[in-house]
Symmetry: C2
Subunit: 214 residues, 2 copies
DNA sequence: TTCTGAATTACACAAACGTATAACAGCCGG
DNA sequence: CCGGCTGTTATACGTTTGTGTAATTCAGAA
């Protein structure tokens, strides 16, 4: 007659969220390899069997976790523009800076992203999630660029958006993987100057101006 | 009396190289998870035990494979400048284009890189390999920029190199993960235009000019 | 040709993996 | 206060993992 572990019954939504959160933590720390059924259950404070009660397989949980990650990333970048200024230059400047600063730039996020790369390339449904998120971010960037007081063709707009998005991604990558190689604010300053150069506008000035007003 | 598998004795270098190559193939295909001792041995045409004869542990083999990957990447980028023109603008243009074109831009390479990210962050020796390779590439880029007929301070040079490197990395990433989202040569054209804009020079023209001469 | 030693195979082992199933216990409607 | 539904735990199974060790066989030296 051994003691049986006491437990609480939780709502399905709560349990699924907890399990997904636990899985993401583990993937961030040690890659998908570290996110075993037992480790996830332990982190979430339940026993392994419960996972299969809420997810038909470990792969199912993995997909759910990836969706959650991507959704929260898009939400973060969108939140920056919530109370943004009306001046197009200042809006773009703020968006750029936010994209290469914490919490977006974060070793954990890169680890998470890297952990899913292989599954994204293999699994069609995960690739779809990835593609949608990526294009949503780029489209938002492109709309911010289109609002600038300039003249530009559609093709030029597209290419500028791709370039700026690539620059942001690259700086996001480097800043996250090798954070000790850069001074505070250096990446943000570089991002502003470079995006401004690509677009032919002065983002640095726009950012500083709006900052001083506040 | 079962039949024992026949085999050939090979040099240590040959065997180590084969095992490393097999490990890299598997990591590229399915991440570190797929690179099991047995799978690597099978791919290399030997039995699993042999791996531990040449590598003290699987982790040891992993480190060796990562070093090999990074070394070959630096070698690839260096090879581009082997028979490069003398004009600084044309040299930089060629380097930029090569960095965002095959074989550098390659889904396999991104998969490989992503597969190692976690181990890079955890293991000090792997982080050192990563850091050295990254900085070597950026330094090369910075020296190419410094050769341009312009005036620039040391800090400005550093930041321009970081920006261009980030842009190249980002385009490398996007072009590799979502190759179907871009037309042929589009990424190269974007890279030339954007790097040129960041540095205040016309790289597109320099690239086309040198191309027409050949 | 024979001998020797090192490269290679073969086998074994404990731990950890994802999965399946049955037993328990918390909680809601009576 | 009490059944019964089901969320949850417990346990077990077959596979695969990395690793350790002994047996074998290839290739060069003598």
């Amino acid at each position: 007659m051994t003691e049986r572990r006491p437990y609480r019954r939780e709502s399905e939504e709560r349990r699924r969220d907890d399990l997904i959160a636990a899985a993401l933590e583990l993937v961030a720390e040690g890659g998908l390899r570290a996110a075993t059924v037992r480790a996830i259950a332990d982190r979430a404070g339940v026993t392994p069997g419960l996972i299969r009660h809420y997810f038909s397989s470990k792969e199912d949980l993995t997909r759910a976790a990836y969706r959650k990650l991507m959704d929260s990333m898009t939400a973060d970048s969108a939140a920056v523009l919530q109370d943004a200024p009306t001046d197009p230059l200042a809006r773009l400047a703020r968006f750029v800076v936010a994209s290469v600063s914490p919490p977006v730039v974060d070793p954990v996020a890169v680890g998470l992203w890297a952990g899913f790369v292989h599954d994204v390339r293999r699994d069609a449904s995960m690739r779809e999630v990835h593609s949608a998120t990526y294009l949503a971010f780029r489209d938002k960037l492109q709309s911010l660029i289109a609002d600038l007081p300039r003249q530009a063709t559609a093709q030029q707009l597209r290419r500028e958006a791709i370039a700026c998005n690539g620059l942001i991604d690259g700086l996001w990558l480097e800043g996250s993987v090798l954070p000790e190689s850069f001074e505070d604010g250096e990446i943000a300053a570089i991002a502003l100057a470079s995006v401004g150069a690509i677009l032919g506008v002065n983002l640095t000035q726009a950012y500083d101006l709006e900052r001083n007003i506040l």
